[in-house]
């Protein structure tokens, strides 16, 4: 035992391995290969193909699992479809019991799950045991509660249907929980594909589902590579797709599902800033960085990979980071006392080291601590890159590894500029001991999650998801349920939103007595002539020429978007001000009701009664959004930690609003008013058939104190203009009401910056209905949720 005397001197750490015998026995019992879990049964792959599951820390083969073919996916979707009526129709309590049983089983098998996850993924047992698995259980508990409450809390909405879910390898079981728990709570059935590097915990989870009494077909697990995921994405029986993964794949899924009518949520990449102000607790901030970028080997979509530090504190902070990293322990993921395990696969190590090499070539200085790092397996040391310019690849591209890039800033304004100088917008951390400075910055950062004096906090009750190319949709909280519910009766069963013009009839000479009127575009608060100096003839319901409107083109859209973008101060306007302006627009419309009624009657052929009804409905709608302007509030969440998580609804930004032809005044108002109410600036393409209601309307806007650029109107050919809008990288969202083909076109064209789209797929909406034509769904689509975590309480 002289070993003890030696250690007494050196004070070294020794091995502290977690036992893995139970997991290995389970793997051995499945040595013949794992099948798919479909319809409550284990099913062999239709074409007999299997692939290997490896432990990335030592290249050990852990087992084989099925490669999902198209036939396998067909079978899984069929099982999910068959199970749907029963599960959607089950009482909330029935669903709650099943979710509760899953939560309990996750807790009962927590150590097994933690060990299996660590073996398959390479992440430390400390993290799977203390973070991943407890969050998984929490997620099922939380959603068991929603299942119980949903019928009374969401009476106007229903499950979406069969949900296809494709998840990544960085948090295999946790991402599964984030996907399956809300889907099941809301009454959907699922077909889930785990990542090819990390399928094992999903397969064990399928066994737990079996034990928990999940009805056959409600949860189907199909394993395989990307091609299996593609089969799920393409399957016509899938009503909704939920994907977490890279922005590149997210973009492909957006394009592939364009026009399919599938609901889509994407949780994609990030390059999240970690901002340290001079007045921060620097030692605390260093630990925050450990949580932000060296947690899970940096394989975290919301990793704080860009350190922005106030210049005066940079030298001290970097010295502290280096000291901290010199104490890092990297090694066997099953050792309880290590800080970092292995990357999830050898290919990731190649990718990370390649990006770091490129960063160094581009001028960065690399620092890595002199700590031991295993040479077998996909281990990569914690890394610090300084001398990083804003064009350096390490500053711009998601590395998805334990690599931190550093840059300094001088002022809060500059910090926000640098933080927001990214295509992504997933998360941000802000460190300051001055709550004013911290919260000032929190309001300026474009990100779906902002952590103040902490990092990488997650909870089932707190929405998580990104701005910009980090995706759309939220997971967690009530917001997360949005993705798995749809409004009942949103669309009319029949009827088109489009109205064809009749054949042109010849005008009699002198048919238009009075002074000639020239409807123009309305851009930046000014009436502007169309760039192309062309006009379109607008016919009345009988085919007679009613007026010529500007034929807008790409450049008019460009100018309108520019004007909207420059009206950014509208985002900061008080909700009360926006409410006042909307009331005032309503008042001014009402004042000119006769004129609009006359226009509707003569242009569309509406009866006097119907024309009056539409104008009055429009006035009411303006009042409704005046009301909503200061009442669409988000939530304050209570995660199980000494934190307050506050969700705010921030305006989506610049939105393109493409209007239908039916109810041309009311639909126009119903599109721009919610955007205005929520602080968005809009570029409106009015009804192609009846644009005169919109061109008449800009005079109402002008007299109602609407600042220039907040609402812009460009008339012309709907789909031509919509395409330019949908492609425009400075547009944050497009709402489209037109044809099915136009809907597909908009969704496809949106992939450039992954803007949010909301399309009608050619269907018509009852604009008079206060449930289908007004309300929360419109507000939801005009806003994005930012969840701000701040320390709270004693």
């Amino acid at each position: 035992m002289n070993r003890v005397a030696e250690i007494f001197e050196t004070m070294e750490y020794g091995p502290a391995p977690e036992a893995s015998d139970k997991v290995r026995a389970w793997l051995k019992s499945h040595a013949a290969g794992f099948g798919h879990y479909i319809g409550g049964e284990w099913v062999k792959p239709s074409d007999g193909q299997y692939m290997e599951a490896c432990n990335p820390a030592n290249d050990e083969m852990l087992g084989t699992f099925a490669v999902g073919s198209k036939a396998d996916v067909d079978r899984a979707v069929a099982a999910a479809e068959a199970a749907l009526p029963g599960w959607a129709g089950a009482s909330g309590h029935e669903r709650a019991k099943v979710l509760y049983a899953i939560a309990r089983l996750v807790q009962k098998t927590s150590r097994f799950l933690a060990v299996l996850e660590s073996l398959d993924n390479g992440k430390p047992i400390r993290e799977t045991r203390d973070i991943d698995v407890p969050l998984v259980a929490r997620h099922f508990y939380y959603h068991a509660g929603w299942a119980q409450l949903l019928a009374r809390e969401e009476p106007d909405r229903e499950p979406v249907g069969v949900v296809g879910q494709v998840i990544p390898w960085n948090f295999p079981l946790l991402m599964l929980a984030w996907k399956i728990a809300p889907a099941l709570a809301c009454g959907n059935t699922v077909v889930l594909k785990p990542a090819e590097h990390t399928s094992l915990t999903a397969l064990y989870f399928a066994e737990l589902c079996h034990e928990a009494g999940v009805p056959p077909g409600v949860v189907n697990i199909v394993t395989g590579p990307g091609s299996t995921g593609q089969h799920i994405v393409d399957h016509p029986g899938i009503a909704k797709l939920a994907f977490t993964g890279s922005t590149g794949v997210g973009r492909m899924i957006r394009a592939a599902t364009a026009g399919s009518g599938k609901k889509l949520s994407l949780e994609l990449g990030g390059k999240s800033p970690f901002i340290v102000l001079e007045d921060a607790d620097l030692d605390g901030a260093v630990e925050g960085l450990v949580d932000a970028i060296w947690f899970n080997q940096g394989e975290v979509c919301c990793a704080g990979s860009r350190l922005l530090v106030e210049e005066g504190a940079a030298e001290r902070l970097i010295a502290k980071i280096k000291t901290r990293l010199s104490h890092f322990r990297i090694g066997d993921p099953l050792d309880k006392a290590i800080d970092m395990g292995s990357l999830a696969a050898p290919i990731q190590k190649t990718r990370v080291s390649g990006l770091v090499e490129q960063a160094v070539k581009e001028g960065a200085t690399l620092w890595q601590p002199q700590v031991s790092c295993p040479t077998i397996g996909a281990f990569y040391p914690p890394s610090l890159l300084t001398d990083v310019g804003s064009s350096n690849i390490a500053w711009r591209e998601e590395i998805f590894g334990p690599v931190l890039s550093v840059m300094t800033f001088r002022t809060l304004t500059e910090a926000a500029q640098l933080a927001n100088n990214s295509r992504y917008g997933l998360a941000a951390a802000i460190w300051s001991d001055n709550i004013n400075r911290a919260l000032e910055l929190a309001g300026e950062i474009k990100a779906g999650v902002v952590w103040v004096n902490t990092a990488n906090q997650f909870d089932a009750a707190c929405p998580f998801g990104g701005y910009r190319e980090s995706g759309f949709g939220r997971e967690g909280g009530r917001e997360g349920l949005e993705e798995y519910l749809k409004p009942k009766n949103e669309w009319l069963d029949k009827g088109s939103p489009l109205i064809a013009a009749p054949a042109r009839v010849a005008d009699k000479a002198g048919a238009h007595p009075g002074v000639d009127r020239t409807p123009k575009n309305y851009i930046g608060g000014k009436q502007t002539r169309p760039d192309g100096a062309n006009t379109l003839e607008i016919l009345d319901y009988q085919g007679r020429l009613a007026a010529r409107v500007g034929e807008g083109n790409r450049k008019d859209i460009r100018d309108a978007v520019e004007a909207a973008f420059n009206a950014a101060s509208w985002e900061r306007s008080a909700a009360h001000l926006r409410a006042q302006i909307l009331f005032y627009i309503g008042e001014n419309l009402d004042t000119r009701a006769d004129e609009f009624e006359h226009r509707l009657a003569t242009l569309t052929g509406a009866s006097a009664k119907d024309a009056k009804r539409e104008v009055q409905a429009s006035v009411e709608r303006l009042f409704a959004y005046a009301g909503w302007a200061d009442k669409y509030e988000a939530n304050v969440h209570a995660p199980p930690s000494r934190q307050l998580a506050v969700s705010v609804h921030e305006p989506l930004g610049v939105v393109g609003l493409v209007c239908p032809d039916n109810a041309p005044l009311l639909s126009f108002v119903s599109m721009f008013a919610p955007a205005l109410a929520m602080g968005c600036r809009s570029v409106v393409i009015p009804s192609e058939r009846y644009p005169l209601l919109a061109t008449d309307f800009y005079q109402v806007l002008e007299t109602s104190d609407v600042p220039g650029g907040v609402v812009n109107i460009v008339t012309g050919e709907r789909d031509l203009l919509a395409k330019t809008l949908a492609e425009h990288d400075n547009v944050d969202g497009v709402w489209y009401h037109g044809s099915a083909e136009g809907s597909a076109m908009v969704e496809k064209a949106s992939t450039g910056n992954l803007k949010r789209t909301w399309v009608n797929n050619g269907k018509a909406r009852d604009w008079y209905s206060t449930s289908a034509g007004e309300g929360r769904q419109f507000l939801h689509n005009a806003t994005q949720v930012k969840t701000i975590w701040v320390p709270y309480g004693g």
């Binding site: 035992m1 250690i7 070294e12 020794g14 203390d130 921060a280 010295a319 280096k322 004096n453 934190q643």
Partner: protein, 338 residues
Amino acid sequence: MKIVSLDDRQPKSPAAPAASDHHVERNPGMALDMGWIDAIHVNRSAVERRTDSLGGRRTVKKEWQAAWLLRAITCMDLTSLLGDDTPGRIQRLCAKAKAPVRQDLLEALGVAHLNITTGAVCVYHEMVPTAVRALEGTNIPVAAVSTGFPAGLSPLKYRIAEIEESVAAGAKEIDIVISRRHVLTSNWQALYDEVKQFREACGEAHVKSIIATGELGSAEKIAKASMVCMMAGSDFIKTSTGTEAVNATMPVSLIMVRQARDYFERTGWKVGFKPAGGITQAKQALAYLAMMKEEMGDEWTRPHLFRFGASRLLGDIERQLEHFVTGRYSAANRHPIG
């Protein structure tokens, strides 16, 4: 300002000893620099996040655990601070300090040759002569709590005189208590002046400044008080008297050692840390050692820079050591009482 990394360990002056030398040159202190004090920011939730996760990040098992527990014994100020202390009681305490672990266990562990003793014996002034006599011929210093311990509210001249008497009686270390009111009212100059006078009164004896964290009200005050005490020339900063409602905790300890680290990084002087009160279990001792190793480096796991103030901890460590040797869980009555 020069930034010194802990791992570089550059001594500030040529006279300063090498890192391997366990007899660290004493912190001479420095002028009170309010610029440093004003710039101290401590975020309580961040501190708690670190201490909450540290236990999960670091653990030692088997031989490593045994070795670390032996190290913990050498860092222990074996303490008795009771109104009913008598010479007989203190002699027994000192005997335990000299032979803290049963000889057969030490032999089984293969460490009999290491001559393991506690780091010091800590008593009130009246017990100093007894302790000094009892520990004659050993290297175990006697520490005396002083300056009107635990409240520190007797007249200043008596507090200084108390130090001088204890030093004259043979105490090598003086555990002083600061005036908490100076911290609570942010009168940093007064705190600095007080500790500086105590340090002068100590002469060659080392000063361990007790800041009584449980009575200071905030993380930031704890940090600032620690820094002022170091500027005034403390050799150690110590959490508690053991009589506050809350004594040593991992969060307050982390706050204090980070200040010691900052002080070292800025000045090159090493100041020790002593958590005291409420540390009764072997696993707590391991957690403290891991925190010192992680936050400060290996040198701060040695008795010249780290001490536990404890009266009951040793019993639990002895039982854990016996468990390691025999594989059976142990009982208190099998180990000599202190």
